[in-house]
C-alpha cells in the first residue's frame, strides 16, 4: 500500500507536468491552428537556460525562474509568432508542421552549440532534496508539491480564461472563423500572439519542473522527447478540451509509474515499454477517437503550387542525372562515393514523401523508421553467405519491402478516419516507438513457443552487407552509387507516371477537396491506405539501401530526429516534385553532414580555429533556419530554381557557354590538373552567374510572363469561399472546450 501511494504521488506529479506542457499545445493549436512540434524543444531549452542562470551564474532561484518562465519564454513565443507563424496563413498542413519541426531541430542544434553535450549538467530540486513533508506515510518533496500545485492552478486558470473572460472567448473564436472575428472587432493576430507567449511560458515551466524529477540530468534529446510525450495528453483532449487534456496527462503519468513499479523485473523489455508508453497511449487514443466529419470548404486555396512534368521531360532529366553521376564517379574517391550514395538513398526515402504528401496530401513524420523495419527484416531473413561474402538477397529485399508496406498500413489505418494532423502524430508515435522498443530490444530473450534466444536488434548494432541480385553485386562503391541512382530515377519517373495516371488524378482530387471526392463516390480510406502502403514500401527500399551503404547501423541511424530532418529538408526542396526529393535527400544525407565535417576538420587542422567551429555549428543550425523560412516560399526551393533558369532556354548562346565552361572545368579535374573542390566551386559559380549573364544579354527573355488572369481569379476564389453560410462558426465554438 505504501509503495502504491508512493507510485501514485510520483505519477500524479509527472502527470501534472505533462498536463502543463500539453495545455500549452492545446492553447496554441486552438488559437493559431498550428500544432507546435517544438513544444518539447522549447521546454528543453528553457531547462538549460534555467540551469545557466541558477547553477552556471548562481542567480537566486526566484530571479532565474522569473527570467525564464515569465520574461524570456513568453518573449520568445511572441517573436516566434510574429516573425514566423503569422506568415503561415493559407499554407498546407505539412508546411505548418515542418516549420515547427524546423524550430525544434534548430533549438536542439543551438542548445548543443551553447551547452557542450560533453559536459555533464544537473538541475536540483527546488529547496533541495531534503525539503519534504509526509502524506499518509509517503515522503513528498516540496518540488513535487509545487509541480502538482502548478498543474492544478494552470488547469483551473486556463479553463477560467476560456470560459469566463472576453479574451478567452475571442481566442476560441479565432480558429473557427478568423474573418468573422475580425469583422466583429476582435484582434485575431494579437490573440494568437498572446497564446504563443502563454504556450511558450507553459513549455518553459514544464521543462524547469520536470528536469529534476526525472533525475536532474540535462540531456538535449531526452528532455525534448520527454516533453514531446505530452502530445499524447493533448490528443486525449482532442486538441481542444483542457479538462480532458489534464485527465489524459494524469493517466499517462500514473501508467508510467505503475509500469515502473509493478512489472516484474524479469521482463527485460519493461523499461523500454515505460519509455515508449506515452506513444503507445497516443496510438490507442487515436484508435478510439470518433471520426472527423468531412467539412466542405475547409480547404481554402493554399499557396503551394506544383507542376507535374511530362513523362518525356522526366525521362530526359532522369537520364541526365544518371549521366552526371557516371561522369562524377571517375573523379571521386571511395569515401566521397559512399557519402553521395547515402544522400541518394535518403532521396529514395524522400520519394516516399513526394508520393504520400506531395501527391496525396497525407503526412508521414517517420519515413526513416519504416526503413528501419525493412532493415531489421532483411537482417534476420534476407541474408546469405558469411563474412565478406555475405550479401542481401533479392527475396530479402522484397520481403523487407512487403513487411514494411503491411506495417505501414496497420499504423495508418486508425488515423485515416481523422484529420491529416492525426496521421502525422500516429507516424511520429510509431517512429518514437521503433526507437524506444524495437531498436532498443538489444538483449536476447527466450521466445515463448520456439524456445530460442532472440532479440530484434542484437547488441544494438547491425552489420548490413551489400545486396546482390543476379549478376549485379553492389559490393563496390561505384556499382552501389550507380545502381542507387538508377533506382532513384526509375522510382522517380514511375511516380510521375503514376501522378499522371487515373490513380494519381484521384489522389490529387482527394488532396484538393476530400469532401468533393467523397461525394463523387471515392472511398477515401481505401485510397489513403493504398497510397500510405505504397509510400511505406518505397521508404522500406530506401532504408535497406541506406543501411547497406552505411554497413553498420545503430540506434542513432534511425532516431526520430533523422526522419524529422529528412521530412523538413524534403519540404524545403519541394514536396511536390521528384527533384525536391532529390534535393532534400542529398541535403539530409550528404550536404550538411559534409559541411559540418569539413568545418570540424578545418577547426582541428588549424588548432581550434574558432571561426571554423562557429561555421561547423552554424551548418548544424542552418537546415532548421531554412525550414523555418518556408512560410515565405511554401512550394519549396525547386520551383523557385526552375523559374529562375527557365528563361535561359530562350538565350541558347549563354546556355551553350555555360555548358562549355562546365565541360572544360570537368576535363581539367578529370586530368588531375585541378582538385575536386574546384569542380564544386566552379559549378556553383557558373550556376549563379548564368541567369545573370542571360539577363544581361537578353533582358526580354527574363521579363515575367504576363498572367493577369491567374492573379485575378485566385483573388476571386477565396472571396467566393468566404461567403459564409454562417453555420460552421457557431458549431465549432459550441462544442469546443467542454
Amino acid at each position: 500500500m505504501h509503495l502504491f501511494l508512493e507510485y501514485t504521488i510520483l505519477g500524479l506529479v509527472t502527470g501534472a507536468v505533462y498536463g502543463i506542457a500539453a495545455s500549452g499545445l492545446v492553447l496554441t493549436y486552438t488559437t493559431s491552428g498550428i500544432f507546435n512540434f517544438a513544444q518539447g524543444a522549447m521546454a528543453m531549452f528553457a531547462a538549460f537556460t534555467y540551469w545557466q542562470f541558477r547553477f552556471g551564474w548562481n542567480w537566486p532561484a526566484p530571479l532565474a525562474l522569473f527570467m525564464v518562465i515569465v520574461v524570456l519564454a513568453p518573449l520568445a513565443g511572441t517573436i516566434l509568432y510574429g516573425g514566423i507563424m503569422r506568415g503561415l496563413r493559407n499554407t498546407a498542413e505539412v508546411t505548418k508542421i515542418v516549420v515547427t519541426i524546423g524550430i525544434m531541430l534548430g533549438l536542439i542544434a543551438l542548445a548543443q552549440w551553447i551547452w557542450n553535450p560533453g559536459v555533464p549538467r544537473t538541475d536540483q530540486l527546488f529547496f533541495g532534496g531534503a525539503a519534504k513533508f509526509t502524506v499518509f506515510g509517503v515522503d513528498v518533496t516540496d518540488h513535487e508539491a509545487i509541480a502538482l500545485g502548478c498543474g492544478v492552478l494552470i488547469a483551473i486558470g486556463i479553463r477560467l480564461l476560456f470560459k469566463s473572460t472576453r479574451t478567452g472567448v475571442a481566442m476560441r473564436a479565432v480558429v473557427d472563423n478568423t474573418d468573422l472575428l475580425q469583422l466583429n472587432g476582435g484582434r485575431p493576430e494579437r490573440l494568437a500572439a498572446f497564446s504563443w507567449a502563454l504556450g511558450a511560458g507553459l513549455a518553459a515551466l514544464a521543462g524547469v519542473l520536470i528536469t529534476p524529477i526525472s533525475g536532474g540530468t540535462l540531456d538535449v534529446h531526452v528532455l525534448t522527447l520527454l516533453v514531446l510525450d505530452s502530445i499524447a495528453a493533448a490528443v486525449f483532449g482532442r486538441l481542444r478540451s483542457i479538462w480532458w487534456t489534464f485527465g489524459g496527462a494524469l493517466v499517462l503519468g500514473l501508467a508510467g509509474t505503475y509500469v515502473l513499479g509493478y512489472f516484474p523485473p524479469t521482463w527485460s523489455w519493461a523499461s523500454n515499454f515505460r519509455i515508449a508508453l506515452p506513444m503507445i497511449v497516443l496510438f490507442v487514443v487515436l484508435l478510439v477517437l470518433p471520426q472527423d466529419r468531412l467539412r466542405g470548404a475547409t480547404v481554402q486555396r493554399t499557396r503551394e503550387r506544383f507542376t507535374v512534368p511530362t513523362l518525356p521531360s522526366a525521362l530526359t532529366w532522369g537520364v541526365i542525372l544518371i549521366a552526371v553521376v557516371l561522369l562524377l564517379e571517375p573523379i571521386m574517391g571511395a569515401a566521397d562515393m559512399g557519402a553521395l550514395t547515402v544522400g541518394i538513398t535518403y532521396s529514395i526515402i524522400a520519394l516516399s514523401l513526394t508520393l504520400l504528401t506531395g501527391y496525396g496530401g497525407e503526412i508521414n513524420l517517420a519515413p526513416v523508421s519504416f526503413g528501419a523495419i525493412a532493415t531489421i527484416i532483411v537482417f534476420h531473413l534476407g541474408l546469405t553467405g558469411n563474412g565478406t561474402a555475405q550479401r542481401i538477397t533479392l527475396w530479402g529485399i522484397l520481403l523487407g519491402i512487403a513487411v514494411t508496406a503491411v506495417v505501414g498500413g496497420l499504423i495508418a489505418l486508425p488515423a485515416l478516419r481523422l484529420r491529416g494532423l492525426y496521421l502525422a502524430l500516429a507516424t511520429l508515435a510509431f517512429g518514437v516507438f521503433v526507437s524506444d522498443m524495437v531498436i532498443a530490444d538489444i538483449a536476447p530473450h527466450i521466445l515463448p513457443i520456439f524456445h530460442v534466444h532472440f532479440s530484434i536488434f542484437p547488441n544494438g548494432a547491425l552489420q548490413i552487407p551489400p545486396p546482390k541480385v543476379g549478376p549485379i553485386d553492389l559490393n563496390s562503391p561505384k556499382t552501389f552509387l550507380t545502381v542507387s541512382t538508377i533506382l532513384f530515377v526509375v522510382i522517380g519517373v514511375g511516380l510521375i507516371a503514376l501522378r499522371r495516371s487515373n490513380y494519381g488524378r484521384r489522389l490529387t482530387a482527394m488532396k484538393d477537396s476530400p469532401a468533393a471526392a467523397a461525394t463523387l463516390g471515392q472511398n477515401l480510406i481505401r485510397l489513403k491506405l493504398s497510397v500510405f502502403m505504397l509510400s511505406a514500401a518505397i521508404a522500406g527500399l530506401g532504408g535497406i539501401l541506406l543501411s547497406s551503404v552505411s554497413a553498420n547501423v545503430n540506434a542513432n541511424t534511425f532516431i526520430i530526429f533523422v526522419s524529422l530532418a529528412l521530412v523538413m529538408l524534403t519540404v524545403v526542396g519541394g514536396i511536390g516534385s521528384v527533384a525536391g526529393a532529390l534535393m532534400g535527400g542529398l541535403l539530409a544525407g550528404t550536404g550538411f553532414t559534409a559541411l559540418t565535417s569539413t568545418f570540424s576538420n578545418l577547426a582541428t587542422d588549424h588548432g581550434g580555429g574558432g571561426i571554423w567551429n562557429v561555421l561547423a555549428n552554424l551548418s548544424l543550425v542552418a537546415p532548421a533556419l531554412i525550414g523555418v523560412s518556408l512560410g515565405r516560399s511554401p512550394s519549396g526551393a525547386v520551383p523557385d530554381i526552375v523559374a529562375n533558369y527557365r528563361p535561359l532556354w530562350r538565350v541558347k548562346s549563354v546556355l551553350a557557354l555555360g555548358v562549355a565552361a562546365e565541360v572544360v572545368v570537368y576535363l581539367l579535374v578529370l586530368t588531375k590538373v585541378m582538385g575536386n573542390w574546384w569542380l564544386v566551386l566552379a559549378t556553383a559559380a557558373i550556376a549563379i552567374a548564368l541567369p545573370a549573364i542571360g539577363k544581361a544579354v537578353d533582358p526580354d527573355a527574363f521579363r515575367a510572363p504576363a498572367a493577369p488572369l491567374v492573379a485575378a481569379t485566385s483573388a476571386q476564389m477565396p472571396a467566393a469561399a468566404a461567403r459564409s453560410d454562417g453555420v460552421p462558426a457557431v458549431q465549432g465554438a459550441v462544442d469546443a472546450h467542454t
Binding site: G296, R301, R505, K511, T519, L520, L524, V734
Partner: protein
Amino acid sequence: MPTLEVTEVCMAFGGAQVLSNVSISVPPGHVTGLIGPNGAGKTTLFNVVSGLLAPKSGQITMEGRDITKAGPAARARRGLARTYQRLELFTSLTVRDNIRVAGEIRNTWGRRGRIDVKAETERIIELVGLADVADREVSEIPTARARVVEVARALMTQPRVLLLDEPASGQTEQETEDFGKLLRQLVSEREIAICLVEHDVSLVMGTCELIHVLDYGQIIASGTPDDVKNDPAVVNAYLGAP
C-alpha cells in the same frame, strides 16, 4: 415514387436548430426547386442528404432504399451527385481533368455500368459548353463557369439524383437561359431527378414543376410555381410583394 425522399429531418449545431422536421420529395424526370432566404438551411439540407452531415433524426431514402446511415461515397454509388455553393473544385487539375477524374472515380465502383471515361468527358464538356476552357487550370476561369465545371463533374458519375447548389449564380442572362434549357434536357432525356437551390427566381419558376420553400429550417410551402408564388407566407419570407 419520388427518387429522393427526405422525411422529418432535424439537424442542430450545438444549441441552434437549423433544420426542423424537413420533408421534401424530388421526383424523377423533373427539376424540383428548393428556395428560401440566406441562412434558411438549404446548404445544410444538401450536406445532410449527401452524407457530409448526420441528421439528428429523420430518414432519407433513394429509390425506396434507406440511405440515412450510409457514408457520402456509398450514397454517390447509389446514384447521388451534388455541386457546392462554396466551390470544391480540384484546384491542381485542369477543367478537363476535373471532369475526367469524376468518371475515373465512377469506374472504381465496380464492373457494372463502367463508362468510357475519355469519350464521356468530351461529351459532357460539349453538353455543358466548356470546350473553350477545357485545357485551362480550373483556378484560372471565372467563378460562374467554375460552377458549371462542378455540374459537369457531377454528371460524369451518371447520377440518378442531382443536387445543384446555386449553380447559376454569377451567370449572365443568356447563360442562365441556356442553363435552364440544359436542366430541362437532362431531366427529359435521362429521367434523372434534379433538386435545384437557386436565387434566380425566373430560372426556378421557369424550370421547376415542384418547389419547396425553406425558411428558418422549416418547409413553409411546397407546390407548383403558381401555388408558391401566391402563397402569403412565401411572399412574406422570401419573394416580397410583386
